[in-house]
C-alpha cells in the first residue's frame, strides 16, 4: 500500500462556480500526489493533483467553518479546500510547500512512475523520435549542409546538442570562432531546411557586439549560411526582441548585428517581449479566469489588460514573417533573441509548422518539439519550475507556442492531424514530470542523469493512445494539409480567441457541452466497422449465390457456416447502433483511455502511479457531466434517462442571482 504522509477527514472541496456543489471528503497526501476522495460510495469522485503541478499554495484566514487552503496548478486547475482544524491545515500546507518544490531531480515523479513496460519497450519508446531521421527527411546532409561533431562533448556549447547541422563551408574554426562571439556560445545552427528552394531557418543567440565589436568568424558563419542558399544573395537576420531591449543589451557587451559589418544581411526586429513580461501577462490573464461571475466587461477588459493575446499575435507574426521569407522570397533566415532558447524556439517552431505539413501531423509535432525545444536547450527545468528555483526564471514560453498552434487550428480546421486534446495533454506533461522528456535544461544534463535509462518517453505513450488525439477533419490528401499555411492575422479577419479549453480547462461548465470532434470520431469509428461488415456481408452473399449452384449436401453445409457468420455479424451490428456506440463516445473530459476502469478505492490508492498517467485524472472526474453529455448526444438519451438532463452541471445560481 501507498504510504500516506497525511490523511485528513471532513475536508471540503469547494466548487469555484457554485456553492451548491461543495463536496465533503478525505484528503490524502502521498509522495507524489494530493488526493481528495469524496465521501459517499456511489460516485466516488476523486481529485488527483501531482505535486509537480502545484504552482502555489495559499493558506487563507481561518473562518468559523475551517481553514481554507488554495492550491493553484500549472495546468490551470485551482483547488479550494477547507480543512476543519487549523493545525491540520498548517501541517498540510508545510508538507505541500516542501513536496511541491523538490530540490533534486530524483525526487521527481518520472523516477518513480512505472507504466509496467519492459526495458525493450522503454528503449523503443525513446527511439520513437529520432532527430537524425528528421534532418534526413528534410534532405540533409546534402551539398550545402552537413552534420558537425564540433560539439561532441559539449565542448563548444553546453546547451546545444552534440549533433549540429551547419553549412558545409563552415569549418570547425569558423564555428568555434563564431561561438565565442555569441551569448552562451550558441552559434548559428540549422533549425529547418526548406527542400523546395534551399532556403533555411538557422538559430543562434545574440552576438557579443556591444557598440562596435566584430568577429570575422561570425561574419564568415553568416556568409556560409547565405552561400548554402545559392538562390538568394542575402539572408534575413531576425532579432525577435523589441528594438529597445536589444539596444540596452549593447551596453552589456551584447546586442545585435550591424548590417555594415556583415555582407549581405538584412536585419529585422520583431518585438516579442521577454519572459518576465510574459509571466506577468499570464498571471494577469489567470486572475481574469479566476474571477467569480465576472461581467462581460470585466472579462474583456481583463483580457485586454493582460496583453496575452497581443503577445500570442506577436509570436505568430514573427513566425509568419519567417515562413514567408523562406517560402516566397526564397531567402534564408537567422533567428535569435538574447540567449536564443525562448523566443527563438517559439518563432522557429511556428515558422516550421507553417512551412511543412509534416509538423502538423501527430508524429511530426512531437519531432518539432524535440527539435526546436528539447534538443536546442530550452530550459524546461527553469521555465516550468520543476525543481525549486528562481521564480523569476519561470515563464510560459512553450505554453504560448502551444496556444499559437491552437489558434492556427481554429483558422485551419482540416490542416492538423491532431486535436485540441493532444495539445492540452502535452502541456500537462511538460509540467507533470511524469515522463523524462522535459527534464533538465539541456541535453547534456539529461545525458548525465541517464534519463533514457531511468524514465519513460511521453511520445511513445501519446502515440499508443493516438486514437484519442485524432482530428476527424484531417485528411492527408486535403488541400489544407498541403504546403505552406498562410494565416490571416488582423483582428478584422481573424479573431485571436481566448482559449477556455486550456485556461479554464477544469471548469467544464464553461465549455461547449457537445464535442464535434468526439462526435465525428465516433461516426468515423462506426464507418470503419460498417466497412468491415460490408466486406463480410458481400462475401457471404457471394458464397450463398455460389452455393445455389452446388448440390444440396454441400449447400446445406455452407449455409450452416454462413448462418453462424450471420449470427456473429448481426451481433456486431447490434452493437453498432447509435445507442451502443455512444458508450465509446465519452465526453471530452472523461474520454481518456484509462478512466474507464474505475476500480474500487483500495486499488486506486495502491495503483496511483498507473492511474495518474492520464492528465485528466488529476481533475475532478465529473461523472455527472459525463453522463449528461452522453445522454445529450445519444439520440435516444431522453428515453434512457428520462429524469436526467444537461442542467445537472449548469450553475443555477448564475441565473438566479436575484
Amino acid at each position: 500500500l501507498c504510504h500516506f504522509f497525511a490523511q485528513v477527514e471532513n475536508v471540503r472541496l469547494l466548487d469555484r462556480l457554485s456553492s451548491r456543489k461543495t463536496a465533503l471528503g478525505t484528503l490524502y497526501l502521498t509522495a507524489t500526489h494530493v488526493i481528495f476522495v469524496e465521501n459517499g460510495s456511489e460516485t466516488r469522485k476523486e481529485t488527483w493533483v501531482l505535486h509537480s503541478q502545484i504552482s502555489s499554495i495559499e493558506k487563507q484566514a481561518t473562518t468559523a467553518t475551517g481553514c481554507p487552503l488554495l492550491i493553484r496548478c500549472k495546468n490551470f486547475q485551482v483547488i479550494q479546500l477547507v480543512i476543519p482544524q487549523e493545525r491540520d491545515c498548517h501541517d498540510i500546507y508545510i508538507s505541500l510547500i516542501r513536496l511541491a518544490r523538490p530540490v533534486k531531480y530524483e525526487e521527481l515523479y518520472c523516477f518513480s512512475f512505472n507504466p509496467k513496460l519492459d526495458k525493450e519497450e522503454r528503449e523503443q519508446g525513446w527511439k520513437f523520435v529520432d532527430l537524425n531521421e528528421e534532418y534526413n527527411r528534410m534532405g540533409i546532409p546534402n551539398n550545402y549542409w552537413q552534420i558537425s561533431d564540433v560539439n561532441r562533448d559539449y565542448g563548444v556549447c553546453d546547451s546545444y546538442p552534440t549533433e549540429v547541422y551547419v553549412p558545409k563551408s563552415a569549418t570547425a574554426h569558423i564555428i568555434v570562432g563564431s561561438s565565442k562571439f555569441r551569448s552562451r556560445r550558441r552559434f548559428p545552427a540549422l533549425s529547418y531546411y526548406y527542400k523546395d528552394n534551399n532556403a533555411s531557418i538557422c538559430r543562434s543567440s545574440q552576438p557579443l557586439s556591444g557598440f562596435s565589436a566584430r568577429c570575422l568568424e561570425d561574419e564568415q558563419m553568416l556568409q556560409a549560411i547565405r552561400k548554402a542558399n545559392p538562390g538568394s544573395d542575402f539572408i534575413y537576420v531576425v532579432d525577435t526582441r523589441p528594438k529597445l531591449n536589444a539596444m540596452a543589451n549593447r551596453a552589456a557587451g551584447k546586442g545585435y548585428e550591424n548590417e555594415d559589418n556583415y555582407s549581405n544581411i538584412k536585419f529585422q526586429f520583431i518585438g516579442i517581449e521577454n519572459i518576465h513580461v510574459m509571466r506577468n501577462s499570464l498571471q494577469k490573464m489567470l486572475e481574469v479566469c479566476e474571477l467569480k461571475s465576472p461581467s462581460m466587461s470585466d472579462f474583456l477588459w481583463g483580457l485586454e489588460n493582460s496583453g496575452w493575446l497581443k503577445h500570442i499575435k506577436a509570436i505568430m507574426d514573427a513566425g509568419i514573417f519567417i515562413a514567408k521569407a523562406v517560402a516566397e522570397e526564397r531567402v534564408s533566415v537567422l533567428v535569435h533573441c538574447s540567449d536564443g532558447w525562448d523566443r527563438t524556439a517559439q518563432v522557429c517552431s511556428v515558422a516550421s509548422l507553417l512551412l511543412d505539413p509534416y509538423y502538423r501531423t501527430m508524429k511530426g509535432f512531437m519531432v518539432l518539439i524535440e527539435k526546436d525545444w528539447v534538443s536546442f536547450g530550452h530550459k524546461f527545468n527553469d521555465r516550468y519550475g520543476n525543481l525549486d528555483g528562481d521564480p523569476k526564471e519561470i515563464s510560459p514560453v512553450i505554453d504560448q507556442f502551444i496556444e499559437c498552434v491552437w489558434q492556427l487550428m481554429e483558422q485551419f480546421p482540416c490542416a492538423f492531424e491532431f486535436n485540441e486534446r493532444f495539445l492540452i495533454h502535452i502541456q500537462h506533461h511538460i509540467y507533470s514530470c511524469q515522463f523524462g522528456n522535459f527534464l533538465c535544461n539541456s541535453q547534456k544534463e539529461r545525458r548525465e542523469l541517464k534519463i533514457q535509462e531511468r524514465t519513460y518517453s511521453l511520445w511513445a505513450q501519446l502515440w499508443k493512445n493516438r486514437a484519442d488525439y485524432l482530428n476527424p477533419l484531417y485528411r492527408s490528401d486535403h488541400s489544407q494539409t498541403q504546403g505552406t499555411l498562410h494565416p490571416r492575422m488582423a483582428p478584422y479577419n481573424f479573431l485571436f480567441k481566448f482559449w477556455s479549453g486550456m485556461y479554464n480547462r477544469f471548469e467544464k461548465g464553461l465549455h461547449p457541452r457537445q464535442s464535434v470532434t468526439d462526435y465525428l470520431m465516433a461516426v468515423k469509428e462506426e464507418t470503419q466497422q460498417l466497412e468491415e461488415e460490408l466486406e463480410v456481408l458481400r462475401e457471404r452473399l457471394a458464397n450463398l449465390q455460389k452455393s445455389q449452384f452446388y448440390d444440396n449436401k454441400v449447400k446445406s453445409k455452407q449455409q450452416d457456416q454462413s448462418k453462424q457468420l450471420g449470427l456473429s455479424t448481426s451481433n456486431s451490428c447490434l452493437a453498432n447502433t447509435p445507442q451502443e456506440y455512444s458508450n465509446d463516445l465519452k465526453s471530452f473530459p472523461s474520454r481518456s483511455p484509462s478512466q474507464g476502469d474505475e476500480e474500487d478505492s483500495a486499488l486506486i490508492l495502491t495503483q496511483d502511479n498507473l492511474k495518474s498517467s492520464d492528465p485528466d485524472l488529476s481533475a475532478n472526474s465529473d461523472q455527472e457531466s459525463g453522463v449528461e453529455d452522453l445522454s445529450c448526444r445519444s439520440p435516444s438519451g431522453g428515453s434512457c434517462l428520462p429524469s436526467e438532463d444537461s442542467g445537472k452541471d449548469s450553475d443555477e445560481a448564475v441565473f438566479l442571482a436575484i
Binding site: M296, F494, L510, R513, T527, S634, G638, S646, V654
Partner: protein, 550 residues
C-alpha cells in the same frame, strides 16, 4: 409612382467593383426598380451581383477628377465599392440608389413585385396557423382555450386574431385586463412545459401608475395559470429602477401585495437606441482595418454587444429554470412586451423544448413568438449598423435573439437540426427580402397589406428540399433534453459568421463544414448498403430454407 422617374442613368459601363478578398472586376452596372445589378464583362468568368435596394443601409460618394466612387454599405453588413467613370453618371446613380433604398411606402417594396421562379409546394402563409398550435396543446392539457376576442384586431392592435388564454377566463374579463395592460397586451400563453405542466405567459406592463391601480380580472387571469398551492415568477425585463420610473408615465409593475402568489424578478435588458448604438459600435470595430490586437478587445468591450447577449441569455435561462427546475409558472414582460419580452420567451423555449431546435419548430417559433406576437419588424429593421438616421424605433432586437441562438448552438453543436447559415439567412431576410414575411409591424398591418395574397412567404421558399439541405446541420441528433447554456463570458463569443462574414476568408471553414458533411454522408451510405445487403441475405436464406423444407 414610376420607378423610372427615379432612375436617371439606368446603366453605366466600365464600372469597377471592389470587394474584400476578390480582385477588382470591371463590368456594367444596371439599376432597376428594386435591384442594383453588376455584371462583369469578362467572358471567361462572367459573374453577376444582384443587390436589393432595400438591403442598402447607407451610401457614400467621392470624386477624384471625373472618376466617381460610390461606397455602398448594406444591412447584411457587407460593404462594396463601385468606381463609376463620369461625374454625372455617378451622381445620378448615387441619387437613384438613395431614393430607391429609402422608399416610404411598403407596397412599393420588392415583395409586391417579386414573382417566384420556383414551384410552390406548400404555401408558407398557411404553414404555421394558431389552430395547429392549439391542437398540439389540447392533446396534453385542457386548461387553455383559443380566444377569438381579437378577431378584428379590435382589442389589441398588435396581437394576432386568436390567442391562447386560460379556459376559466372569459372574453369579457380579457377585455378588462386589456385595458389594464400597456398597448392592451393582456397575458397570453407563450409556452406549455409538458414535463411538469408549468407555463410561460407574456404580456406588457400593467398600467398601475403612481397611485397603484389594480385590476381584479388581471389578478384572476394570472392566478388562473397556477396549480393549487404553487407559486409563480414574474420576470420583468427592466431593472427595478426603470420599472419604477415607468409608473410616472402610467405604467408600472405588479405589486406583490396584489399578486401574493407571485414573486417578481427584475432583469435588465436594454432597448432601442442603446442596442442600435451597440450594433453600430460593434460593426465599426469589426471593420477596423488596423492590425492592432490591443484596441480590438477594448472596442469589442465598449460596444457592449456581448454584454447584451449575456443579459438576454441569462434572463432566458432564468425563465427556463423557474419552469423546469423550480416547477413554477412564469409571466414575462417589459414595457410594451414586443421586444425584450419576446427575446426571453423565445430563447427559453429553445432551451426547454426540443421541437424548437428543429428547422420546422424554429420557424414556428419565429412565427408565433415574433411575427404573430407583434414584434415591429418594419420599424426595428428599417436600418442597420451603417445608418445615420438614429430613429428611436430602430433596434437589432431580432439579430440579438439570433445571436443568442447561435451561442446556444455553439455550445450544443449536435442538438440543432439547423445550422448557422439558417440563422444568417433569417437575419438577412428580416432586413431585406423578396418575401413578404417580415413586412409590417404586426398581424393587423400584414392583413391590411394583404401580404398573404400579394406576396410570397419566406417559408414557401425555405421549406423546399433544395433550400433546406443548405440549412441542415449534419451533426444533428435529436436531443429530447433541456439544454442549459453557459452564460459565463468565457463561453460567449463574437458571432463571426455575421460580423466578420465579409472580412474573413471563409474558405477553410467552408472546407471543414464540407468535410463534416462528407464524413456523415459516407457513414449513412454505408449504413444503407449494409442494411440492403442484410435484407437481401435474409431473403435468400429464407428462400433456401423454404426450398429445403420442400
Amino acid at each position: 409612382m414610376e420607378f423610372a422617374e427615379l432612375i436617371k442613368t439606368p446603366r453605366a459601363d466600365n464600372v469597377v467593383l471592389h470587394r474584400p478578398f476578390y480582385l477588382a472586376v470591371e463590368g456594367t452596372l444596371c439599376l432597376t426598380g428594386h435591384h442594383l445589378i453588376f455584371s462583369s464583362r469578362r467572358q471567361d468568368n462572367a459573374e453577376e451581383l444582384w443587390l436589393l435596394h432595400s438591403n442598402i443601409d447607407s451610401i457614400e460618394k467621392r470624386f477624384v477628377g471625373s472618376l466617381g466612387t460610390i461606397i455602398i454599405k448594406c444591412k447584411d453588413l457587407r460593404i462594396i465599392q463601385l468606381d463609376i467613370p463620369g461625374m454625372e453618371e455617378c451622381l445620378n446613380i448615387a441619387s437613384s440608389i438613395e431614393a430607391l433604398s429609402t422608399l416610404d411606402s411598403v407596397t412599393l417594396m420588392y415583395p409586391f413585385f417579386y414573382r417566384p421562379m420556383f414551384e410552390i409546394i406548400e404555401d408558407g402563409w398557411r404553414s404555421f396557423l394558431p389552430d395547429q398550435e392549439f391542437e398540439l396543446l389540447s392533446s396534453v392539457t385542457e386548461e387553455w382555450r383559443l380566444s377569438c376576442i381579437n378577431k378584428e384586431f379590435s382589442v389589441c392592435p398588435s396581437y394576432p386574431p386568436v390567442v391562447m388564454v386560460p379556459k376559466s377566463i372569459d372574453d369579457e374579463a380579457l377585455r378588462k385586463v386589456a385595458m389594464f395592460r400597456h398597448g392592451s397586451r393582456f397575458p397570453v400563453l407563450s409556452y406549455y412545459h409538458k414535463k411538469n405542466g408549468m407555463v410561460m405567459m407574456r404580456s406588457s406592463q400593467p398600467l398601475t401608475g403612481t397611485n397603484g391601480r389594480r385590476c381584479k380580472e388581471d389578478e384572476k387571469l394570472i392566478n388562473a395559470t397556477l396549480r393549487p398551492g404553487k407559486r409563480g415568477y414574474i420576470i420583468d425585463t427592466r431593472s427595478l429602477n426603470v420599472a419604477q420610473q415607468a409608473r410616472a408615465k402610467g405604467g408600472g409593475f405588479e405589486q406583490e401585495a396584489h399578486y401574493p402568489q407571485w414573486r417578481r424578478i427584475h432583469k435588465c435588458i436594454e432597448r432601442f437606441n442603446i442596442l442600435q448604438e451597440s450594433l453600430i459600435k460593434l460593426v465599426e470595430a469589426c471593420n477596423d482595418q488596423s492590425h492592432n490586437m490591443d484596441r480590438w478587445l477594448s472596442k469589442l468591450e465598449a460596444s457592449n454587444w456581448l454584454t447584451h447577449i449575456k443579459e438576454i441569455l441569462t434572463a432566458a435561462c432564468l425563465a427556463a429554470q423557474c419552469i423546469d427546475r423550480e416547477g413554477a409558472s412564469v409571466l414575462v414582460h417589459g414595457t410594451e412586451g414586443t421586444d425584450s419580452t419576446l427575446q426571453v420567451t423565445s430563447l427559453a423555449q429553445i432551451i426547454l423544448d426540443p421541437r424548437c431546435r428543429t428547422i420546422r419548430g424554429f420557424e414556428s417559433l419565429v412565427v408565433r413568438e415574433w411575427l404573430q406576437a407583434g414584434h415591429p419588424f418594419q420599424q426595428r429593421c428599417a436600418q442597420s449598423a451603417y445608418s445615420n438616421s438614429k430613429q428611436k424605433w430602430e433596434a437589432p432586437v431580432f439579430l440579438l435573439f439570433l445571436d443568442c441562438v447561435w451561442q446556444i448552438l455553439r455550445q450544443f453543436p449536435c442538438s440543432f437540426e439547423f445550422n448557422e447559415q439558417f440563422l444568417i439567412m433569417l437575419f438577412e431576410h428580416a432586413y431585406a427580402s423578396q418575401f413578404g414575411t417580415f413586412l409590417g409591424n404586426n398581424e393587423n398591418e400584414r392583413s391590411k397589406l394583404k401580404l398573404p395574397q400579394k406576396t410570397m412567404s419566406l417559408w414557401s421558399w425555405v421549406n423546399r428540399s433544395e433550400e433546406l439541405s443548405k440549412f441542415q446541420n449534419p451533426l444533428y441528433e435529436a436531443n429530447s433534453l433541456v439544454i442549459w447554456p453557459s452564460v459565463a463570458p468565457q463561453s460567449l463569443q463574437l458571432w463571426e459568421g455575421v460580423f466578420l462574414r465579409w472580412n474573413r476568408p471563409s474558405k477553410f471553414l467552408d472546407e471543414a463544414h464540407e468535410e463534416m458533411i462528407n464524413i456523415i454522408k459516407y457513414n449513412k451510405e454505408l449504413q444503407a448498403k449494409v442494411n440492403a445487403l442484410r435484407r437481401q441475405l435474409a431473403e435468400m436464406e429464407t428462400d433456401d430454407r423454404m426450398q429445403e423444407n420442400l
